[in-house]
Symmetry: C2
Subunit: 216 residues, 2 copies
C-alpha cells in the first residue's frame, strides 16, 4: 500500500495538487470525506466538526500522539474527542490497504508506520492571496485583500500550533517532510506529474529503508 500525505499552506493550491496526484496515479483521495464521516457517525454538523478540528485550544502541558496520543484530561474534551475520532477514521482508511492521497490532518505522523511519502506545499504570499480571492469570488463571497491576508496568516498559525502541540513536529519545516515544493507560478498539472514521478521513485526504491527512519 502506497500513501502520499500532503501538508500545505492555506491558499497554496495543495488540495488541488493532491487531487491531481491521486487522479494521475489512480489512488483514492481523502480530504473533506473525513469530516463528513465524523459528522455522520456522531450526528454533528460538518461545519462544527471542521471548525472544532482547526481551533485546538492551548493545553496546560505539552501533548503528543506520536505514540500515546493526547490525553483528554488536558484539553477541551469535545475537541479532543474530535481529534481522536479523526485519527480513528484515518487509521480505518489505511486499514483498507488501498493506495491513497490524504490532505493535511497530521496524517504523515498518524500513518508513519506505513512509511508514507510526505509532501508539503508552500507558495508566495501574493499568490496565495490571489488564489483565495478568486476562490471566494467563485463562492459568491466578498473579501478585501487585507481580510484574505489576515485569514491566511490566522489559519496557518493555527495549523502550526496544532501540529506542534499534537505531534511535537514543526509544521512546514524541512525536517518533517520528504519534499517541500513552492507551487507559485507552476501549471499544477505539470507540478503534480513531477511529484508523481518522485513519489514513484520513493515507493520503488526508498520505502523499506525509510521504515527505519530516525525522525529527530
Amino acid at each position: 500500500m502506497n500513501i502520499i500525505t500532503i501538508g500545505r499552506e492555506f491558499g497554496s493550491g495543495g488540495r488541488e495538487l493532491g487531487k491531481k496526484i491521486a487522479e494521475m496515479l489512480g489512488y483514492k483521495y481523502y480530504d473533506k470525506e473525513i469530516i463528513s464521516t465524523i459528522a455522520e457517525r456522531h450526528n454533528l454538523n460538518e461545519n462544527y466538526v471542521e471548525n472544532g478540528l482547526i481551533s485546538i485550544p492551548v493545553p496546560t502541558i505539552n501533548l503528543t500522539f506520536g505514540h500515546s496520543f493526547v490525553s483528554p484530561l488536558y484539553v477541551d474534551a469535545p475537541k479532543t474527542e474530535l481529534l481522536l475520532e479523526q485519527r480513528r477514521v484515518i487509521e480505518e482508511i489505511a486499514s483498507k490497504g488501498e493506495n491513497f492521497v490524504i490532505i493535511g490532518r497530521n496524517s504523515d505522523v498518524i500513518l508513519q508506520k506505513y512509511a508514507p511519502f510526505n509532501v508539503f506545499v508552500t507558495a508566495d504570499l501574493e499568490d496565495k492571496i490571489q488564489r483565495c480571492l478568486s476562490r471566494a469570488k467563485d463562492n459568491g463571497e466578498n473579501f478585501t485583500t487585507k481580510e484574505i491576508k489576515r485569514k491566511i496568516i490566522k489559519i496557518d498559525k493555527a495549523r502550526k500550533r496544532a501540529r506542534f502541540l499534537i505531534t511535537e513536529k514543526d509544521w512546514g519545516h524541512k525536517n518533517s517532510y520528504h519534499i517541500i515544493v513552492n507551487s507559485t507560478g507552476w501549471n499544477l498539472d505539470l507540478l503534480a506529474s513531477s511529484i508523481c514521478s518522485i513519489a514513484n521513485n520513493y515507493f520503488k526504491d526508498l520505502k523499506p529503508k525509510n521504515n527505519e527512519r530516525n525522525d529527530d
Copy 2:
C-alpha cells in the same frame, strides 16, 4: 541559460547530488572551483579563502546584498573583500551564458535575475553523521561521532547566520527555495534524476513567469 543552485546541510550529500544533476543534464558544475579562482587571482591559500568565507563575523548593523551588497565599512575588511570577490566570480560564471549547477554560496540570491531553479538538500541527522564519518575515514582522518555531530551543527549554524546577514533570507526555510528534499535513504542517482525532471519542467514551463516572483 538554465541555472540550478543547490543549498545544503553539511553532510546531506547535496554536493554529490549537484554533481550528478550536472552530469545528467550536461551542465557545467561549480563548487570548489570558485575558491580556487579567488585563491589564484589574489595569490592566497585555498584553505584561507575557504575558511574566510565560512566564518563571517557579526556586523554591527544588518547588511544585505540583494541589491546593494555588504558595505566594507561594517564588517571585517579582508573577509568582506573575499565575499565581494566570490560574488564577482559567480557573476562572471553566469555571464558566460552556459547552463550550470552551482553549490551553496547564496548563489540563488546572487543570481536571482537569471531565475535559477533553487534546490535545498536536507537529511536526517543520523544519516549526515554517517556520511561525514565515512568521508573522514576515506581521507584518513579520525573523528568520533560526537565530534562530527558538533562539526555539523557548527558549520550549519555559520551558514544560517551568514545567509541571513548577507541576504536577509532564511537558510533552509521553505520560503527561500523552489524545492527542498530530504536525501535520507535515497539512492542519489534516483533522487538526482527526479530533480532533473522537475527542474526541466521548471525551465520549460515556469521560468519566464518566475522572473516576476515576489520573494517576500
